[in-house]
Symmetry: C2
Subunit: 396 residues, 2 copies
C-alpha cells in the first residue's frame, strides 16, 4: 500500500485550484475577457526590467558550467551576503551571510523551517484565517496544529485567545503579515504584545517558542510599516520569498533568515541545513540565486497593486459590501452577504465573478478576492459586483 | 528543543563536502592548477549551446509574468508531453504527460517518490555501494534501510543476497544505473532477474514492491545499453534529472515518471503530487521547465567524458591500480592499494590528489574518482597517481 495520506492530498485539489480550473473552462466557453477571475495569487505585474537584464547578462557573460553548477547547499555566499546587508540596512537586524539559507521559495522556506524545529507531536499555532497549505506543511513535519481565530473588526489575534492556546508542547507560531487572505498587517504594538506573551509563556513552561515569520508579502505594503519581527522577538526564523516582490512565483526562489538572537542560533541554522538536505533541496536554483542577488532591494511596480486596492475597495464599499481595510498583500477579505461564503461564491459565478470562499482559510463567512489582476478587469467587473450585491439583497 | 536529528545532519557535512572544502583551501595555498581535485560530481562539460539559446529566446520573447509565473503543480503540460513523447520514442514505455511530474532535480524526485510510497516502518533496499544521501532521504521518509552489498568482480547484486533482504515490509528498492560511485550499468539480463525476483517475492508476501529507478546518469553511457526498467518491471517509478545530461546541476530540474503499468498508477501519481505539495515543492522552476522542454533529447558533449574515462582508466591500470570497468556515469571506483580507503585518500593528499573514500557509499576498500574534470587535469595528474602507487607499494 502506498501512502494514502499523500494520495488523498494529491487528489483533494484545493478549493482555489478547483475554481481556477472552472475559470479555465469558462474562459474557453465565453472568452477570457468575460470572466472576472479573482481566484489566484499570481502576480499580474511583471518583474522589474532590471531582473530581465540581470538574467540576460548572466547568461551572456558567465561560464555556463559555473552559472548552472551547484552552489553551496545554503546558497551562493555573495548572494547571501547581499541579502544580509539589505536586511541590516533596512532593519538593523545584525544579519550575516552565515544566517541566510537560500530556498526554493516560501513553501520550501516553511517546510524546511518546520522540519528543523519540530519534534513529533510538537504543536504549531496558526492564526486563522491562514494560507491553507500551512496545515499540510505542519502535519507533514509531524506537528499538531492549534488554531487561534482572529476576527473582525481587525483580524488581529487577541492576547487571551493566544494565551489559552499555548502549552508546554507549543514549539512555534506562524505569523503572516501582511496576511493572506485578509491583507492585514500586524501593527508594531500588537507584535510587541505577542512577543511579550510568547516570552512569558516560554519562561512559564521552560520552553523555547519560535516565531516563523512567513513574509512573502513584506514588500507589498501600501504605506503602513511592517514590523520586522526579529527586532521584537529573539527566537525568530524569517521565511522570505521573491515570488511576489519580484513577480517570480514560478521560479521558486527565497530564503530563510535565522535570527542571530535566536537561542542556539548556529545550531538552529545547522538544523535548517540538515532539513533542507533531508527534504531533497540540495541548493536553490542557481541562475535565480545570482539573478535575485543582482536585484536585492528592487521590487515590481507595487504601486499598481495599491491602485487596484484603492479602486476595488472603494467601489465595493460604495456598493454596500463590507471588508476589513487591507493595508498590504494583494487580497481583500470580503464579508459574504448572507454569511454563507460557498453559497455566495456559487452565486457570484452567475455574474462570471470567480471568488474563493474563506472556509478553507479558517475564515468562514468571508471570501478572498485576489486583486493582482489588471486594472481593466477590476473596472469591467464592478457592474457584476453590483448586480451580485443586488441579487444577494433580494433586489433582483 | 529543535530537531536534533536535523541539526546533526546539518553539522555532519558529508565526506565529499569535507574534501571539497580542503581542496578549496589547498588551491588557495598552492594554486588551483596544482591540486588534482577528483572529489565532486559537478559536470565539467558545459550545457549544449542550444540550451543557452533556448534561455535567451525565452527571456527575450516571452511575457515575463507568464514565463516566471506558476505552472501547474505537476509542471507545464506541454513540457511534460514532450518528455513523455521522448520516453516513448526511445523506450516505447506508453508514457503520457499525465504520468510525468516535474521536479527540482533528482534529490527532489527521490524524496517525493519515497514520501509517496512509504508508510512509517516500511523497508527500502539499497544496493551498496550507493550515493550516501539515499539513506538520509529514506530515513526522513520514515523508511528503514536494508543494505545489499554488491562486490567485485562486477558490483552487481547477487540474487541470493537480494532475496534474503526482501520481506513483507519491503516497499521499494532503489536502482541506480549507471551507478554512482562505480560507473557500473546493470545489464538487461541482470535487471530481468531482479524484476522476476521482486515479482515472485511480491506474490509470496502478497505485497507490491516498487523499483525507484534513480537515473541522473542515464545519458552517460559509453556504448552499453542502459535497460529501461519500466519495460522490465511494472511497479516502477523513474526519477530523472537533467543535471548531468544537460550539465545543469545547480538549476534543480528533473522529473518523476510513474509507469502506467504500475499498480494503481493513477493513485500513485496522485500520491506523488500530494508528496510534492506536502514537502513544499509547489512547482519546478518555471524558466528551467520551459528551457529543458526546448532541449529534450539533447545532451552535453558526453563524448568528452568517454575520452576522460578511457584515458584515466587505461593509465591507472597501466600503473598497476585495479578497478571495475565503468561503462557509464563519470566515476571510477578504484581499489585502494592496501585496502584502507581513508588512509589511501590521506596519502593521496601528499600528491595533491583529492579522492573520496568509498566507505560512506558502503564501499569500503575503494575510492571514488570523479573524472568530470578537464582532460588536462587528468593528464597532469598521472605522474602523481604513479608516485602515489609507488608510495603504497613501498617503492618510495
Amino acid at each position: 500500500m502506498i501512502s494514502k495520506k499523500m494520495e488523498q492530498l494529491g487528489k483533494k485539489s484545493s478549493v482555489i485550484r478547483e475554481i481556477f480550473e472552472y475559470g479555465k473552462r469558462r474562459k474557453a466557453e465565453i472568452g477570457a475577457e468575460n470572466v472576472f477571475d479573482f481566484s489566484l495569487g499570481n502576480p499580474s505585474i511583471p518583474a522589474p526590467p532590471e531582473f530581465g537584464a540581470a538574467l540576460l547578462e548572466l547568461i551572456e557573460k558567465s561560464d555556463p558550467t559555473a552559472l548552472h553548477g551547484y552552489t553551496s547547499a545554503a546558497g551562493d555566499l555573495s548572494v547571501r551576503a547581499r541579502i544580509a546587508e539589505n536586511i541590516n540596512s533596512r532593519f538593523s537586524a545584525g544579519a550575516s551571510a552565515e544566517q541566510i539559507y537560500m530556498t526554493c521559495g516560501a513553501a520550501a522556506s516553511l517546510t524546511i523551517s518546520l522540519s528543523a524545529l519540530i519534534n513529533e507531536g510538537d504543536e504549531v499555532i496558526l492564526l486563522a484565517p491562514f494560507f491553507p497549505e500551512y496545515r499540510v506543511f505542519c502535519e507533514k513535519a509531524g506537528a499538531v496544529v492549534r488554531v487561534v481565530s482572529c476576527r473582525e473588526p481587525d483580524f488581529l489575534p487577541r492576547a487571551e485567545d493566544l494565551s489559552a492556546a499555548i502549552n508546554e508542547k507549543t514549539k512555534a507560531i506562524i505569523i503572516n503579515s501582511p496576511n493572506n487572505p485578509t491583507g492585514v498587517i500586524i501593527p508594531k504594538e500588537k507584535m510587541a504584545e505577542i512577543a511579550a506573551l510568547l516570552s512569558k509563556k516560554g519562561e512559564e513552561f521552560g520552553t523555547d517558542i519560535y516565531i516563523i515569520a512567513d513574509e512573502p508579502y513584506r514588500e507589498l505594503s501600501y504605506g503602513m510599516e511592517v514590523p520586522y519581527i526579529p527586532n521584537l522577538y529573539d527566537n525568530t526564523v524569517v521565511c522570505y520569498s521573491f515570488s511576489k516582490s519580484l513577480s517570480l512565483p514560478g521560479e521558486r526562489i527565497g530564503y530563510i533568515f535565522v535570527s542571530p538572537r535566536a537561542k542556539d542560533s548556529a545550531d538552529l541554522f545547522a538544523a535548517v541545513c540538515g532539513a533542507g538536505r533531508a527534504l531533497g533541496f540540495v541548493c536553490a536554483p542557481s541562475l535565480m540565486q545570482y539573478a535575485v542577488g543582482k536585484c536585492i532591494g528592487l521590487t515590481s511596480d507595487i504601486e499598481l497593486y495599491r491602485q487596484n486596492r484603492d479602486l476595488l475597495f472603494g467601489a465595493l464599499m460604495d456598493i454596500g459590501y463590507s471588508a476589513v481595510y487591507p493595508d498590504g498583500a494583494f487580497y481583500l477579505f470580503l464579508r459574504a452577504p448572507g454569511g454563507d461564503a460557498p453559497a455566495f461564491c456559487e452565486k457570484a459565478k452567475k455574474y462570471e465573478l470567480l471568488l474563493v470562499p474563506g472556509d478553507s482559510f479558517g475564515g468562514e463567512g468571508y471570501v478572498r478576492i485576489s486583486y493582482c489582476v489588471s486594472r481593466e478587469q477590476i473596472e469591467r467587473s464592478l457592474p457584476a459586483f453590483k448586480e451580485l450585491y443586488k441579487d444577494c439583497m433580494g433586489e433582483k
